[in-house]
């Protein structure tokens, strides 16, 4: 994977498009003096209309089998889809929108976009770079002020063009929402197929928008509960290989895997520490399940829980100092927080029903969970001390939340009841709005959302 941010300096623009400076039309004078209000720090259901025409190219060239003009349209497509999916934007284009010229990239026709109701407009270019690379640039403008808000440039290998689009969308989203970026990130999950009584479950990975989908395992051994390492180089998951329940670390680059720990007992429910050096897992010994922590490189595991019963799962706080986990020591599944050495175990969930699958937000301020009650599973959030419980979904079975890198969106899987019941991946905003199904080639479960790529 190769993506290098570059500075879109005047010199670079001259190099890649020498004729630009002379032919660029002068931006129209700003006629509206009233400052436009932007969405700051809060997710609203009011959507910003944003124009996104196809990216321009200085000259149509074919790089690694990709034509720069068709790539220009695809880049705009991905950016528009990202922004639309966030729920904050109503994109105009790239379909049904006139292609802009290379010169227009830095000199938008603001009046034209204002006439279409666009408060903002995204312009960009994709040009052939040196050594088979591509140069992608994107610009965000305020149409009323006639001003440039953001510019980003990237030198990329052609295969990574989607990442350039996600980085552009992230820059636009961050500038207009005040939130941290999240589009340029990846998801590991379980692809499901086959009859309900004998599901084939395969480890699979994809971009946060479902792009670059790839199956990792072939389905011969049941695979469940994957988690991407923070650097995306490894995936920890449970495989039923050889009819045993064991935690493996899969190395994405080499395609090899190794056991997290050698044990005759079942090991499951693995999670990474935020720095990727430690792994939490659960181990059942004689029917009693406890949580252990081990170096990602192996070594001697540290047992963190000793209470009789099922202590399972777990999720590190983003500062790596605490762990939230579930335990039925009180008689039913509830959430507990402890220090990473296992000390000071405190119950935090007290509402009705059973609470499971806690996941600490990357922002640290909330814990997402599955609550079971009344025959339904729902996704909710609470503070790390157990306050402010809010339920975000309402369906038959919504399970296993995972956070977007910026802590504003939660993915989970939804199962439908009955003999033909199936699972699929969904996401919802922290505010409980903007519920959407994620596109996957097969049914899906157990999503695990990783951090923003560097």
């Amino acid at each position: 994977m190769f993506l290098r941010p570059i500075s879109l300096s005047f010199a670079l623009l001259l190099t890649s498009a020498p004729a630009l400076a002379q032919t660029a039309p002068t931006p129209p004078a700003v006629t509206q003096t009233e400052p436009r209000e932007t969405i700051e720090g809060t997710l609203s259901q009011e959507r910003t209309v944003i124009g996104i025409p196809p990216f321009a190219t200085a000259s149509v060239q074919t790089v690694a089998g990709l034509r720069t003009d068709s790539l220009g349209r695809q880049l705009a497509d991905v950016i528009a889809a990202d922004l639309e999916r966030s729920g904050l934007f109503e994109p105009i284009g790239p379909n049904g929108v006139r292609a802009i010229t290379r010169a227009e990239v830095q000199a938008p026709r603001f009046g034209e976009w204002q006439a279409r109701g666009a408060e903002n407009v995204v312009h960009g270019f994709v040009d052939a770079g040196s050594n088979g690379s591509l140069i992608v640039g994107c610009y965000l403008y305020d149409t009323a002020l006639g001003s440039e808000l953001v510019r980003k440039g990237f030198e990329i290998q052609p295969a990574d063009w989607r990442r350039a689009a996600h980085k552009c969308a992230d820059a636009i989203y961050s500038r207009l929402s005040g939130e941290a970026p999240f589009f340029d990130s990846r998801v590991a999950y379980i692809a499901e197929s086959g009859p309900k009584g004998n599901r084939i479950k395969r480890l699979a990975i994809m971009d946060s928008d479902g792009g670059n989908h790839r199956f990792i395992t072939n389905g011969q051994a049941l695979a469940i509960s994957p988690r991407f390492s923070p650097d995306y180089k490894k995936i920890v998951y449970v495989s039923y290989l050889n009819n045993r329940v064991r935690v493996f670390i899969y190395d994405v680059a080499s395609g090899t895997q190794k056991l997290v720990t050698e044990s005759a007992n079942a090991t499951f429910a693995p999670r990474w520490s935020p720095d990727g050096t430690q792994i939490l897992y659960s181990m059942a010994v004689g029917g009693n399940t406890d949580i252990y922590r081990i170096s990602a490189n192996g070594g001697t595991p540290v047992r963190l829980t000793t209470a009789p019963g099922i202590d399972v799962g777990g999720s590190f706080s983003p500062d790596g100092r605490k762990i939230v986990f579930e335990s039925d020591r009180s008689g039913s599944q509830q959430l507990y927080v402890m220090n990473i050495d296992g000390s000071n175990q405190q119950r935090i969930s007290f509402g009705g029903g059973r609470y499971a699958t806690p996941e600490w937000s990357p922002r640290g301020d909330l814990i997402a969970f599955t609550r079971m009650g009344g025959g339904e599973f729902r996704i909710g959030v609470m503070t790390p001390s157990g306050g402010g419980v809010r339920m975000l979904t309402n369906s038959w079975q919504d399970e296993a939340p995972t956070w977007s890198p910026n802590g504003r969106v939660i993915q989970f899987f939804r199962t439908t009841p009955g003999r033909e019941g199936k699972s699929s991946l969904w996401q919802v905003d922290l505010t409980g709005v903007n519920l959407r199904r994620l596109p996957t080639p097969q049914d899906g479960s157990d999503p695990s959302w990783g951090p923003v790529l560097p």
Binding site: I224, V245, F268, G287, S332, T415
Partner: protein
């Protein structure tokens, strides 16, 4: 898969449990040739290989026991079933088994693996209490991954909350 708990069978097993040592029906099969190097079994003419899963299922009350929601206690019915399994295991001392623990779909994935472990171990422990060497019994939990009944109703869930004894060889 039907849940069948024959009262007559339970009565017979209860007699066995108190030492009456009366089989409900005489074993029509010749004794398995243990330790003779032919322990892959012989064709007895009925097509049932002694010491096989088929032999096991044909000669025990059931290959599985059932649990209440989120529970793992072995009740009287389960004990009777496991007693019949223990007797078969005593007659086939070279056979090893796997106890598969399962849960219904009304629990979260990881918890259900732990719950299936509890159920499989509860069955294993009861068999061990009847004198079966625990080293002959391995356990595995499938959680909610392998339902026996695929409906989403109490009847299906009841069949899925189970521990199944599977002959894995000698």
């Amino acid at each position: 898969m039907t849940i069948r708990k024959s009262t007559a069978m339970i009565a017979a097993i209860t007699m066995l449990a108190v030492g009456a040592c009366a089989k409900k029906a005489p074993d029509t099969l010749p004794p398995a040739p243990e330790g003779t190097g032919t322990d892959t079994g012989v064709d007895t003419g009925t097509g049932v290989v002694p010491g096989s899963q088929e032999d096991f299922v044909a000669n025990v009350t059931s290959d599985r026991i059932f649990f209440d929601f989120d529970q793992y206690n072995v009740d009287a019915q389960d004990q009777a079933t496991l007693q019949s399994q223990a007797q078969w295991l005593q007659r086939n001392p070279a056979v090893r088994v796997t106890l598969e623990g399962h849960a219904d779909e009304r629990g979260t994935r990881d918890y259900n693996i732990a719950l299936g472990e509890r159920r499989a171990n509860a069955a294993k422990n009861y068999l061990a209490s009847l004198g079966i060497d625990p080293s002959r019994i391995s356990v595995i939990s499938y959680g909610k991954e392998r339902p026996a009944a695929i409906g989403s109703n109490e009847e299906a869930w009841a069949q899925n909350r189970r521990a199944v004894t599977v002959v894995i060889g000698r």
